[in-house]
Amino acid sequence: MSSDLIVGMAGAGGDGIVSAGEAMMTAAALEGYSALLTKSFGPQIRGGESSCRVRVATQPVLSAGGTLDIAVALNWDDFLKFGSELGVDGRTTVIYEAASGVAPGELPLAGVVPREAIPVEVARLAKETAGTDRAKNSVVLGLLAAWLGMPEAAFLAGIRKRFGKKGEEVLRGNLAAFDAGFRHAAERPLREPRRLATPGKAGPPKLVVDGNEMCAAAALFAGCEFFGGYPITPSSEIMQFFAREVWKHGGSMLQAEDEIAGIGAVVGASFAGKKAMTATSGPGMSLKTEMLGLATIAELPLVCVNVQRGGPSTGMPTKSEQSDLLQACFSAHGDVVRPVLAPISVADTFGITVEAFNVAEHYQTPVILLSDQEIGQRKETVDAIDTSAFPVLERQRPTGAELDGYERFRATDSGISPISHPGLPGGNYLASGIEHNELGSPTASGEVHARMNEKRLRKLEPLKQRRDLFLEEGDPKAALGVVAWGSVAGVAREAVRLARREGIDVKLLVPKLLFPVAEEVYAQFFKSVEAGLVVEQSHQGQLYRVLRMFAEVPRGVQPLARSGSVPILAATIVERLRGQVLALQSRLVPEGEPAG
């Protein structure tokens, strides 16, 4: 019995590999498993190779994991195109299309001898039962249901959800194909079984959702009434969600003519008093930078989501990377601090998005929400979220007394000045990108400029005390410390658990507030730390560099940073930690003294 299995599948476009993965997610969610689905495609717009990975476990799944436990190759050319994204080793059970003519002992896997190799006539089974080889994916689901021992009914529900809208005939064909696969597998037990343990308690069905849709839904929950944006991979699903849902909630949206107009309309909507959001990826962020500066000086709340992909320029539009952190923190001209928040999973995207709106509205500032392609486009099973546990803040409006001789940018202790909006009698003022005095009147006075800069930066200081925007795990006194953020945080959490299981004393800090840097939180975390890692998916180690600017990072803490697309694995992190343990022991423990 396994409690945690990773299935990877690849095929040609039209084989429905991703649909199979989605049906498996539904099945897992219905049965109370935790599961995580990632998809990967070739560069073709339509057709071409496609693949997915589904990790199913009885305990919460923190990352997409590494080497596959079960590999499904509907054809070898397509499977091999995914390289390390579908890694196979001696522990992998390989299921493949028998019509490929490849003998089980001669798999094209660069010398890897898998645990078991099983040819199945997938296409023939599909044709015989559904009348078309387009039902190959349902045959595969039948095989997996039987060999994993997951309840058939849940898979059937998954198939109904996936294929129900394609008509009765297609659905019937797929159900028959599933059945054929299931019977085929039931009659041929694996030499080395791959049965999945049942999850402890079966609660209500879980949610199945990706990070982009979670982000958009959370925005609506937070009271977002306007979205402006422009299509860009991998964030377009956020705009598409608004196009479908925002009208139901009395809001409005605009697919703008370009990235600048998208955020421009959001700035306008915010000026008009409404909560508003835009979403994009790296190239769009470059274009939106000017408007972010405007929102900073005009002190207008807005949320700007960047679902990061590989850069610079067009870079790698469909691959995840964490290389826009420096841009998020520093791309403004002038003296600017912009809050930057990052979720660590699909589930976490809910709370962090709501928080992004809260920070934006409370502090009257643009907030950058740094998601990434991995979180944005992967699906997770998510336990029910009690939305009432997430407070929603509103911007501070002027009182009646404050509207008497209203000063839009009034000097206050907090630096936050009550904000009016068109339509409110007595609140009339001039918003501007030009420096202005307390009334909003343009100024060229150096004194006023200094005063306003101080106000705009001071108001954000309390953010640095937001310890609730940090996750800490492990032994607080450990000498080894790991810092990780965004989607890589899940991998790091898994790695720290593995390391602690093998006796390595290590702790983890996950910032969800990336900027401004909470110096004191890091100071406290690093107090006991002599060595460790800052783990991130960027070539330069961007978080490591930001931390070096603002916090005292112990010399033994090193970046574990690599460019996007090739995933960082928990095993890699653990291996580096083992090395650091050895180094610490040889360097730090004087002879004759017991190791403390």
Partner: protein
């Protein structure tokens, strides 16, 4: 126009206390006066008006009114104004700026504001020069013009704002000059009252860097009211033929007024909201749509 006695607001109610930075004799003084008059005639209280601009001499104009103003960044007034109007359709939204703001750095936004037909009034103060940056070529500068950035004369043809906007499909296109104040005020009032995107090009001379033949005095003798030519503002093709003479003849008045204005974006959005609202989940249950079943 209603008589002053029964107007709820006077022109002075829209004038702020800020002193304009414009040069003495600048055409923009006349434009802001015409806007005060037009707003008084329309009669919306200042707090129900959002006045958006970009960057340039003329983009300072919202600050000289008592409306909610937004002096934003160069070329981006139209997207911001659309966001305001879509977020709060009950507001009266004015947009203003120069020819560089509207037809150079912000030129890409005009076509889309037009085709979306958000109910905005867009006033361009066209002076064929960059004044704020001290006298460089603008997109409407005539070919051959010598400026600080075209020492030997411009090598480019100017854009034709009137023909562009007509070509984009705008339903209301007009041109005025502060040389005819009451005519300009009436045009702006008509544009504001027009239900949909309305464009008013104002020939607003630059007294510091502009050409002699573009002075207000020259306008007075050169301007040709379209009404006096017997032009039918419902005739779009004729309007385009007249607009093609931009730079050669100074026509004033309404070039085109769509006799059957199309619906605005915000009106259609409202209808969609009403249609979709019964399908809305309670906000606390918003994640239920993702539940596996």
């Amino acid at each position: 126009m209603a008589s002053a006695a029964i107007q709820a607001y006077q022109a002075k109610d829209y004038k702020s206390e800020l002193k304009p930075i414009w040069c003495p004799g600048c055409g923009d003084f006349g434009v802001v006066q015409a806007i005060y008059r037009a707003l008084a005639a329309v009669g919306r209280p200042p707090h129900e008006i959002a006045f958006v601009s970009g960057i340039g001499c003329s983009s300072r104009i919202p600050g000289y009114t008592t409306a909610y103003g937004f002096n934003s960044v160069h070329g981006r007034a139209l997207p911001i104004a659309q966001g305001i109007k879509l977020a709060s359709p009950e507001l009266l939204v004015l947009v203003a700026g120069g020819d560089g703001d509207g037809f150079s750095i912000g030129g890409g936004h005009v076509a889309h504001a037009v085709r979306r037909n958000v109910d905005l009034t867009y006033i361009v103060m066209d002076n064929q020069i960059y004044g704020l940056t001290k006298g460089q070529l603008s997109p409407t500068s005539p070919r051959g013009l010598r400026t600080a950035s075209s020492t030997w004369g411009s090598l480019e043809d100017p854009v034709n704002p009137l023909l562009y906007v007509l070509g984009y499909g705008a339903s209301f296109v007009a041109q005025g000059t502060p040389a005819d104040m009451s005519g300009l005020a009436a045009l702006i009032e008509e544009a504001i009252r027009f239900p949909g995107f309305a464009f008013v090009n104002v020939q607003s001379p630059c007294v510091t860097y502009g050409q002699e033949e573009q002075s207000l005095k020259a306008h007075k003798s050169a301007m040709r009211p379209l009404a006096s030519l017997g032009h039918d503002p419902g005739d779009r093709l004729r309007a385009m033929a007249l607009a093609a003479e931009y730079g050669k003849a100074l026509y004033t008045g309404v070039f085109y007024r769509n006799p059957e204005p199309p619906p605005t974006y915000e009106a259609e959005a409202k209808a969609r909201q009403q249609q979709a609202r019964p399908l809305a989940p309670a906000r606390r249950d918003i994640l239920e749509m993702f539940r596996a079943q």
